[in-house]
């Protein structure tokens, strides 16, 4: 029996893993899930009488999962959050480029109030324009790049003051 900890959508969850003769059993609270190994990094599980097909691999402190084609990424809470520039797991007050590229257009102004999903900036990379939206409600307090600037994924393009409710 091993005890593990994961971060799922901002929540820290404990699991217990146990090896059975043919399966791997995982307990999450009162719930028990049984996985059947099905090849390298592949598993299957029965949920409500239906087979679920799973690929799961750990790579550099991140868990990459494919569950019936739904893709998820989990981390361990101990992993350093701040090193991940794109703010995938927090830092909702900063707007990063999804990948290195060129700023095409900044869509908001200093002081503007934005909602979750408000379009913030368009960045061009891989021959395509990508619109980056706000991930939370807040007020624009810094615009660090302008159209034409090259950006990486480490420096925020826009910074927000989040609403207290967040």
């Amino acid at each position: 029996m091993s005890n593990l900890e994961f971060l799922f959508e901002g929540e820290v969850v404990d699991t217990k893993v146990e090896r059975r003769s043919q399966t791997i059993a995982v307990s999450i609270g009162d719930q028990e899930m049984v996985l059947l190994p099905a090849g390298d990094n592949l598993y299957s599980a029965q949920i409500d009488g239906r087979k679920v097909s799973i690929a799961a691999v750990r790579h550099k402190d991140k868990y990459y999962l494919d569950i019936d084609s739904v893709l998820l990424e989990l981390t361990e809470p101990s992993a350093e959050m701040t090193s991940s520039g794109t703010g995938e797991e927090g830092e909702w007050d900063k707007i990063f480029a999804p990948m290195p590229g060129k700023v095409v257009k900044v869509l908001v102004e200093m002081g503007q109030e934005v909602q979750e999903k408000t379009p913030m900036v368009i960045v061009e990379a891989m021959k395509m324009e990508n619109q980056v939206n706000a991930r939370a409600k807040g007020k624009v307090i810094a615009i660090n790049f302008q159209a034409g600037d090259q950006v990486d994924t480490e420096s925020p393009i826009i910074e927000l003051e989040l609403e207290a409710s967040e």
Binding site: F8, V52, Y63, Y64, M126
Partner: protein
């Protein structure tokens, strides 16, 4: 059969380079890869018989540098160049410089590429050849009688568009002549307010258009054939993501007429080799020429699976001066094929490109399943190039079975490390509109807009899967002398290797 060429250089990368090299292998012709620094360890380089480095990652300094490509061919003794799609495929200058260097360009002549690359000129040519174009006004005019005449010629419904247009402003669909004058005036007002320019024009309004294209092949002996249609209506950001053949919208009579038009387009432009004639098809069976693509298309495999042909092999044969193979004079469509493009982009987040390392890679297998892939376990997907990683093509006797098979195959195609649109495509495939064949070009806007994946439903199984992956991490202790551990790729292992190191234990 004597060897058609001594050696073929493939001036491309990723899945299409591998695909072309497969055709070379079948023909017994050695192939040469070119690669940039970003592709030193890429699949297409592994796949070739030899490879030539052509520069740094930016395409302009490598895959788009015609002189480097020609030099690589000369250096390796390649007497033919296949351009794949994208990059230099439709650049008449590569075709021209090949010819100057005594190298065969596997594709059409520079003149045909130039003509068909010019939208205005090519439309005039096609109008003269009697190929239908979307009817409408040739130039904008404020005269309401000109609008009435144009509308009568085009046939209702028509659409009024702002010349300065965009975003739906100044746009009006008119279904009958009585509404026309008022609509033109309203559109002019709206355009004037929106753009400061009230010029509007009129063209036929295409109701529920589909994107239908015909594959054509022409040899140097005067034979031009079409290899039936592909329907590519499912697009996001004007880029096709799901293609199929045959189209549910075509009956044999319409197929024959459109095919004949496609052949006419090829003949009118003096076309040789493989090309694709694109049409817009409306709900009533009227079709309109859009353009002709002078290359092999991303979606060519659906045609191959339905007709049992090898289009890339045929491209090479044609370029070598051979007559079209017999098979192309007795073509039949059999069963149904669908292709899904596997891009490194996030189907759950507005198709945002995704980069990273592929940390798990396993392909679906089974009868009627084909994967054309440019990536391997360990491949790096970078921002340097197009995000297409692979294509999944499935064939089955009927469209319904093909859809079911595609869903199964997508589920069994496991790529971890970058995000893909797999789930998005499964949801498309499961949508009643798709199953009913209501595949219009606005399919994604209309049917997939309010799609929302709640990850909460996956919470427990995700945590269980991650827990299983955690206990399956490589055990360092057991790795010693345990050859069951997969060997790392040669480059990885050599990286850690030191000069003077003694390997024996």
């Amino acid at each position: 059969m004597g060897k058609l060429f001594n050696k073929v250089l493939v001036a491309n990368r990723s899945e299409i380079a591998v695909r072309v090299m497969n055709a070379c292998r079948v023909l017994g012709i050695p192939s040469v890869a070119v690669y940039s620094d970003a592709d030193t360890h890429s699949k297409h380089r592994y796949y070739a018989d030899e490879s030539v480095h052509i520069g740094p990652p930016p395409p302009r300094e490598s895959y788009l540098d015609i002189d480097k490509i020609i030099a690589a061919a000369t250096e390796t003794g390649a007497d033919a160049i296949h351009p794949g799609y994208g990059f230099l495929a439709e650049n008449p200058l590569l075709a021209k410089k090949c010819s100057d260097a005594g190298i065969t360009f596997i594709g059409p002549t520079p003149d045909a590429i130039r003509l068909l690359g010019n939208k205005v000129e090519s439309r005039l040519t096609m109008a003269d050849a009697g190929v239908p174009l979307i009817p409408g006004m040739k130039d904008s005019s404020g005269d309401i009688e000109a609008f009435q005449a144009a509308a009568d010629t085009a046939g209702y419904p028509v659409i009024i568009k702002a010349a300065a247009g965009g975003g739906g402003k100044g746009m009006r669909v008119v279904h009958n002549p009585e509404e026309l004058a008022a609509a033109v005036e309203a559109a002019q007002r709206e355009a004037g307010n929106a753009f400061g320019d009230d010029t509007v024009y009129l063209e036929k309004y295409i109701v529920n258009p589909r994107h239908i294209e015909f594959q054509v092949l022409a040899d140097t002996h005067g034979n031009t054939v079409h290899v039936f249609e592909r329907e590519c209506s499912i697009q996001r950001r004007h880029q096709k993501i799901i293609e199929e053949s045959p189209s549910v919208a075509l009956d044999p009579e319409l197929r024959e007429r459109m095919g004949a038009s496609a052949v006419k387009v090829a003949e009118a432009s003096g076309y040789v080799n493989a090309g694709t004639v694109e049409f817009l098809l409306d709900e009533t069976g009227n079709y309109y020429f859009l353009e002709m693509n002078t290359r092999i298309q991303v979606e060519h495999p659906v045609t191959e699976m339905v007709t049992g042909t090898d289009l890339v092999v045929e491209q090479i044969r044609i370029a070598a001066g051979e007559k079209l193979s017999d098979a192309f004079f007795h073509l039949t469509q059999r069963g149904h094929a669908i292709e899904c493009r596997i891009y490194a982009e996030d189907g759950e987040n507005n198709f945002m490109p995704s980069t990273g390392e592929i940390v798990h890679y396993s392909e679906p297998v089974g009868p009627g399943i084909r994967v054309d892939s440019g990536v391997l376990h360990g491949s790096q997907v970078t921002i340097d190039y197009d995000p297409v990683m692979a294509k999944l093509i499935v064939h089955a006797p009927t469209r319904e079975m093909c859809i079911d098979k595609m869903i199964t195959a997508l589920n069994n195609y496991k790529i971890l490390g970058v995000r893909t649109s797999k789930k998005f495509m499964i949801d498309c495939m499961n949508h009643a509109a798709f199953r009913d064949g209501k595949t219009y070009t606005n399919f994604i806007e209309v049917n997939m807009a309010d799609r929302d994946i709640s990850l909460d439903a996956y919470r427990d199984i995700a945590l269980a899967a991650a827990s299983a992956a955690a206990v399956n991490r490589p055990q360092v202790a057991s790795a010693v002398g345990d050859a069951k551990q997969r060997q790392p790729s040669p480059w990885e292992a050599i990286g850690a290797w030191q000069i003077g190191d003694v390997i024996h234990e």
